[in-house]
């Protein structure tokens, strides 16, 4: 039976420095929830507050409606996978995995079967008698995971578990983690700074910066409808362009520099005419058209062919460099120095307030 995690206005201070001030979020039972943000954003701090390695200076953390603020870590029944795995070097794979069960005074016979079962789940049964030094990074990762979940914790916590692996293994392991998490149905909080990894594994993501949650949402939502400029640039690539709002009778939209006008259906009602805004356009949300057509006039500067896509680095007449991605099938590859116009996919782009950097797109961000 999986449980929920309820974090309510928690505060973390180191001396007088406040690292997290009144942060709240809820993790649903069985959910794969990711804390995503740049290093130093407080995501690991929050994770360590959940498990109890960091004290909580204010607010409450509840697991299945039980307040756990003052419960010592060894009584919390949470499994944790550490960034460097923290495999006990003086114990074999089997002993490492059995450790938590021994601490719980589980009868030796049951330990045997449970360790056996979990080693099969993470697919390292054949390595059970190896010492940690004889394991590869990915294998150590699996031991760490097995050790954390064999104790049947209420909550599984993972602190950048894939950051020490090479790129290919990282993809393999994240799929493994995801499927194992599904299989055992356990509420999971996962910390990473890698946005691609977060998008790939999570049910929901909380994007953090400077100790504050910027947005919580499904991967799709966060990518397509970022709540502010930070999220839009942190997740995926975004070209930021200056523009102004126009409001005419029942028509609303934005005007880019060079007079390119776009009508939009999904702007919030309270935008004002001539209000300055910041528009975020993902590279794939541009359409390249002939120079003569209406759009942002550009010159192609550099072309990077990547098989599936082709990346164009283009320059506007004001000298701003934009990145544009076109699918291979579209056209033949263009040449450097070609003059073109760029249109945007109106229903895809995001518009932000110039000062607050918050979104001006109608409520789809939650």
């Amino acid at each position: 039976m999986s449980v929920s995690i309820d974090i309510d206005k928690v505060i973390k201070k180191y001396g007088d420095t406040v690292v997290i001030s009144g942060l709240s979020l809820q993790v649903h039972p069985g959910e794969f929830f990711t804390l995503l943000g740049p290093s130093g954003c407080g995501k690991t701090t929050l994770l360590r507050m959940i498990i109890g390695f960091n004290s909580i200076e204010g607010g409450t953390i509840k697991i299945a409606d039980r307040r756990i603020n003052d419960t010592p870590t060894d009584k919390r029944n949470m499994g944790m996978v550490f960034q460097n795995y923290a495999i006990f070097p003086h114990m074999s794979v089997k002993e490492n995995v059995a450790f938590g069960l021994r601490m719980r005074k589980i009868p030796e016979k049951d330990i045997e079967t449970r360790v056996d079962e979990i080693l099969r789940v993470v697919k390292i049964k054949h390595l059970e008698n190896r010492m940690p030094t004889e394991l590869s990074g990915g294998q150590q990762q699996r031991v760490a995971l097995a050790r954390a979940i064999v104790i049947r914790p209420e909550v599984l916590l993972m602190d950048e578990p894939l950051s020490n692996l090479d790129a290919k293994l990282r993809v393999e392991m994240r799929n493994a983690i995801k499927s194992i998490q599904r299989q055992i149905d356990i509420t999971t909080v996962y910390v990473t700074h890698d946005q691609e990894e977060a998008l790939a594994v999570s049910d929901r993501i909380a994007v953090m910066n400077g100790g504050i949650i910027q947005q919580i949402g499904t991967p799709q939502m966060i990518y397509q409808r970022p709540a502010n400029v930070f999220v839009s640039t942190f997740i995926g690539l975004s070209n930021l362009l200056d523009a102004v709002i126009f409001c005419e009778a029942d028509r609303k939209g934005i005007v880019f520099e060079f007079g390119y006008r776009v009508e939009m259906q999904n702007l919030v009602p309270n935008v004002e005419n001539a209000q300055k805004v910041c528009v975020s356009v993902r590279p794939e949300e541009f359409i390249m058209v002939e120079q003569s057509e209406e759009g942002i006039p550009i010159v192609i500067q550099n072309i990077v062919f990547l098989g599936l896509h082709t990346h164009y680095f283009v320059k506007t007449d004001h000298g701003q460099v934009l990145e544009v991605i076109q699918n291979q099938e579209n056209t033949a590859i263009l040449l450097d120095g070609t003059r073109l116009s760029l249109k945007v996919k109106t229903d895809k782009i995001n518009v932000f307030h110039e000062k607050t950097k918050g979104t001006l797109i109608k409520g789809e961000t939650k």
Binding site: I51, G52, D74, M78, P89, H90, F99, M103, I151
Partner: protein
């Protein structure tokens, strides 16, 4: 590594052969001679087991072996029992003044053990200050700590710092995630010490215990001073060799062989135990000292301060004594004076300090040059010969100083090579004694350097020798120098080999301290010890300054 174009004969090979020659002459030859003398009848030249027979036949002789083992095992265990918790306490609880405490611990370790012995005699001896007070208060007739108890007391307090330093270093490198992982799996604080911390520092604990064992087992000054009737092997071998009725070479040699056998046995026992459990760890999140609460905080402080207090007490006694007014001899007449310093430091034609410094510096130079070369050859120029050299350098590690001294006199007292009574023989003995430590610290320093740095230099047109001198050595230097300073401190407090090799012309500080103590002239002895301690402290500060580190490897 062998680079293209490197011929069958290179400069490195000549280095190897030169070092091999030095080792054959100054390590292998003397030791073989000891073995030879122990089983050969000097008159008939025939094989004999008479000496060994004599040793095991008389209780007077073999009991020294039992004594040695008892004392050593007890002191080693006690040192581990004190050193390990102290290290954990200092790493996990915030202790006020821990920086100073660390320095005090190191200093108490650096001074020669026999200084502790005579300081404790002044406190707890027959006429010791503390003894008198105790007898007064309780109306008893406590005769002072001599014999077994005294030796164990001195050795324990002198050796636990070594365990402390090593274990503390290991704890620093321990990744606290392991601790946290255990905690998250439901392991309580007390239990984590047994389940995680002790097993992880066990190899280090064993290694440092072996060092303690070797040091205690080989020490000659302490049992000589405080042992009274309680004789240990080094005392016996010294008496047999230097005996008034003419030393018995063959018998002394036999005792030397027995001593070496025992140290070798110990060495391999430790190897066997430690090899099964060696881990390399990198501390991603090191153990953090946390402020304990209330009573715990108080207890932790009390523990640490009392232990360190006991360890540093002999030094305080010695410095105090050095300023006492005396009648110019053995009796203190009350009040303070600089008399003892006038009689030692400022006395005319007193070369003791000069001798100590020159002998020390010269042996350091030899040991550093050879140490760097050997580690380079063993790590970068792997060959059978160089591995053999590396192994030979480990030999002095298991040979007590007095045994080396005796072996040197066997070898260099008569033609073809006569060195006895010269400063050279002492310099060489010191250098050989320190060789294993220097080679190891150089190897560690070299291990930090990626071979690609050297390859880069070569690709840019430097010759191999040039690369070695312009790239490898400068990069190794900080580590090597740090090791060099520690070797220097150890060399100037060396007694066991120098007591056998010295003559009046090349007497060192430690020998002077020892002879003054034997003469009962505690004032002068204390003045000498204070100078020695001061030198150690200054060297230690230089070490900290040079390395910018706060931890020490010995």
């Amino acid at each position: 590594m062998k680079y293209a174009g490197e011929g069958r004969w290179s400069i490195w090979k000549s280095f190897s052969l030169m070092i091999l020659a030095v080792f054959l002459l100054f390590i292998i030859y003397p030791l073989v001679l000891v073995l030879y003398k122990s089983i050969m009848d000097p008159f008939s030249g025939a094989f004999t087991m008479e000496y060994f027979g004599r040793f095991f036949a008389k209780k007077f002789y073999w009991s020294t072996m039992v004594n040695s083992i008892e004392v050593t095992v007890c002191a080693t265990l006690l040192a581990a029992i004190i050193g390990l918790p102290l290290a954990y306490l200092m790493r996990s609880v915030k202790i006020r003044g821990s920086g100073l405490l660390n320095i005090l611990i190191v200093i108490s370790y650096l001074s020669p053990p026999f200084i502790g012995a005579y300081a404790w005699i002044q406190l707890l001896g027959r006429n010791g200050v503390v003894t008198q007070v105790l007898n007064e208060i309780f109306g008893v007739a406590f005769g002072g700590v001599y014999g077994f108890a005294g030796i164990v007391l001195v050795f324990t307090l002198q050796s636990f710092p070594l365990v402390y330093i090593y274990v503390s270093g290991a704890l620093k490198n321990m990744d606290n995630s392991l601790n946290e992982a255990a905690e998250s799996l439901g392991c309580s604080r007390v239990r984590r010490i047994w389940e995680i911390i002790v097993p992880l520092v066990m190899p280090t604990l064993l290694a440092s215990s072996l060092l303690v064992f070797m040091r205690v087992f080989a020490d000659f000054g302490t049992p000589m001073l405080i042992g009274e009737g309680f004789k240990t092997l080094p005392v016996l071998v010294y008496m047999q060799f230097m005996g008034e009725v003419g030393g018995d070479d063959g018998f002394a040699a036999a005792i030397c062989v027995i001593i070496i056998m025992l140290t070798i046995l110990m060495f391999f026992a430790q190897r066997f135990l430690a090899n099964r459990s060696t881990y390399s760890m990198t501390a991603l999140r090191p153990l953090v000292a946390e402020k304990a609460s209330g009573i715990k905080q108080f207890l932790a402080h009390a523990c640490v301060y009392i232990i360190v207090g006991f360890a540093i007490l002999p030094q305080i006694v010695v410095v105090y004594t050095s300023f006492l007014r005396s009648n110019g001899g053995q009796v203190f007449t009350g009040g303070f004076a600089l008399q003892s310093y006038e009689a030692t430091l400022f006395a005319k034609d007193n070369d003791v300090i000069w001798n100590t410094y020159t002998l020390g510096i010269m042996s350091i130079c030899i040991v550093l040059i050879l140490g760097v070369l050997i580690s380079y050859l063993a790590v970068r120029k792997r060959s059978f010969l160089n591995s053999a050299l590396d192994t030979i350098t480990m030999l002095p590690y298991i040979i007590p100083g007095s045994v080396l001294g005796i072996a040197f006199l066997f070898a260099f007292n008569s033609p073809p090579i006569v060195l006895s009574g010269t400063a050279i023989i002492m310099i060489i003995a010191f250098a050989i004694r320190r060789m294993p430590y220097t080679v190891r610290s150089s190897t560690a320093a070299l291990g930090q350097i990626s071979p690609s740095i050297e390859e880069a230099a070569i690709s840019l047109g430097a010759t191999e020798l040039k690369t070695f001198s312009k790239v490898t050595i400068p990069v190794m230097m900080p580590g090597v120098l740090a090791g060099g300073i520690m070797s220097w401190v150890t060399i100037i407090s060396e007694l066991s080999s120098s007591i056998i090799l010295y003559t009046n012309a090349n007497q060192t500080l430690t020998i002077s301290i020892y002879t003054e103590v034997i003469r009962g002239n505690y004032g002068n002895a204390s003045a000498y010890s204070t100078i020695l301690t001061l030198t150690s402290i200054l060297s230690l500060l230089l070490f900290y300054k040079l390395t910018g580190r706060r931890d020490i490897s010995i």
